[in-house]
Symmetry: C2
Subunit: 243 residues, 2 copies
């Protein structure tokens, strides 16, 4: 049977991939992905065929994967982080409706929420929400509703896609909504270029975060009411009762 | 400087660990963890010293790690899944206040939300909440508030610790709260023994989930309003607009 692996390669550095992901890539004839992700693994798999489509051509990339599999090749579709968190796994299943003869296997990886948390300390020890601020495919009103719900429930929040050229003030808007229910003193953190050259982190208050410029390679963390700073790290306790 | 690695070893099977996690374990003299996790890695590291404390003795386990590090040993504290999601990373930082001479490094891993999602299909493609139903350290009223907030915001929800001997009806209670704002027909899924012997999954409606018995080795997924079933898999689209 034809087979497509949908592989999360982790945040960037090769060793942040799982052993299972590495084994799947070794088994493949063809590795397909956005060019930036291809560049992260290419040197380790010199004997493979690499194919790519530009950003925003995700449907075309999935069709390409199934067409290659149809030629009898074992194909890996690679994603940064995890393939199932804002990744290609969903689209592969949707496009796969037209290719019933192809088996799909998702190989999980370390998503930016988890790898970024490890850089910041331990912000995600308790219940959290993952919210993307990109309104490309989601109405902004729903994103606002989610931010409000998350703040009301005292969730730790992790924000993906906090900014882009067109959306330079979205993080500021998001912080204003969160501050309807969260204190401006809430402990927050940002991590950029996780697991890559230039990795950096900063811990700050929600008020400070509101006025911080971030780019699209930044992941943002907003603590719950219990989150604190320990030796410069952002740490959420494992509960609300004394440990 | 003394060093403690806090290592997420993934859901169970050895190859679901990252290459970085494996390298950290190789560098260590002593590996500390709950006995179940020790058993998952022991055969691969026969030359290491293994130490353990029983369940619920997590503070003691952290103190043990720092005391061993103080003897000049390089120590790994292992957790299943990721060390930073309901894991030991937070407590290590808290206990570490008394051991300022010890460096802490968190090595992220694949948490059950992510590895379970890969088994079910692609349920976490869009914004989601992670909520633990354990009220050991969190007031049940806050858990209810979070479930309500998550349902109102049309988040995909992933539930950890959905049941235990003492809390056999908590999943039922949680589903009733979610159904205040989510349809009973919402696509849901459960995964048990992720990445271990006896791994299984089932896709069902929220109404059916309400009356399903689960155990403590089960991770539960509740879709958003767009989540659908494709070839028996649980798939959440990447947005609310036509792709």
């Amino acid at each position: 049977m034809n087979k497509i692996y949908v592989v999360g390669i982790g945040p960037g550095a090769y060793e942040k991939m799982t052993i299972e992901a590495e084994e799947a890539l070794k088994k493949c004839d063809t590795i397909i992905g956005y060019t930036v992700y291809i560049d992260l693994v290419k040197d380790h798999f010199a004997d493979k065929e690499f194919l790519s489509t530009p950003m925003r051509k995700e449907v075309e990339r999935c069709v390409m994967a199934f067409e290659e599999a149809n030629k009898g090749k074992t194909v890996a579709m690679i994603c940064s982080g995890d393939a199932g968190v804002y990744g290609m796994a969903g689209l592969i299943y949707e496009v796969g409706k037209d290719y019933p003869e192809t088996e799909i296997k998702v190989i999980p990886g370390v998503t930016a929420a988890v790898s970024g948390a490890a850089v910041l300390g331990a912000p995600l020890i308790h219940d959290f929400c993952l919210i993307s601020l990109s309104d490309l495919l989601t109405p902004w009103e729903l994103i606002e509703e989610r931010l409000r719900s998350a703040a009301k429930g005292d969730f730790v929040c992790c924000l993906y896609n906090p900014s882009s050229v067109k959306r330079h003030d979205y993080l500021m808007k998001a912080c204003d909504i969160l501050m309807e229910h969260k204190s401006g003193e809430t402990v927050c953190g940002i991590v950029n270029n996780i697991g890559r050259d230039g990795e950096g982190m900063k811990v700050m208050s929600l008020k400070e975060l509101r006025d911080t410029e971030v780019d699209m390679f930044t992941t943002v963390f907003i603590g719950n009411s219990q989150t604190k700073v320990i030796k410069g790290k952002m740490v959420t306790p494992r509960g609300y009762k004394n440990v």
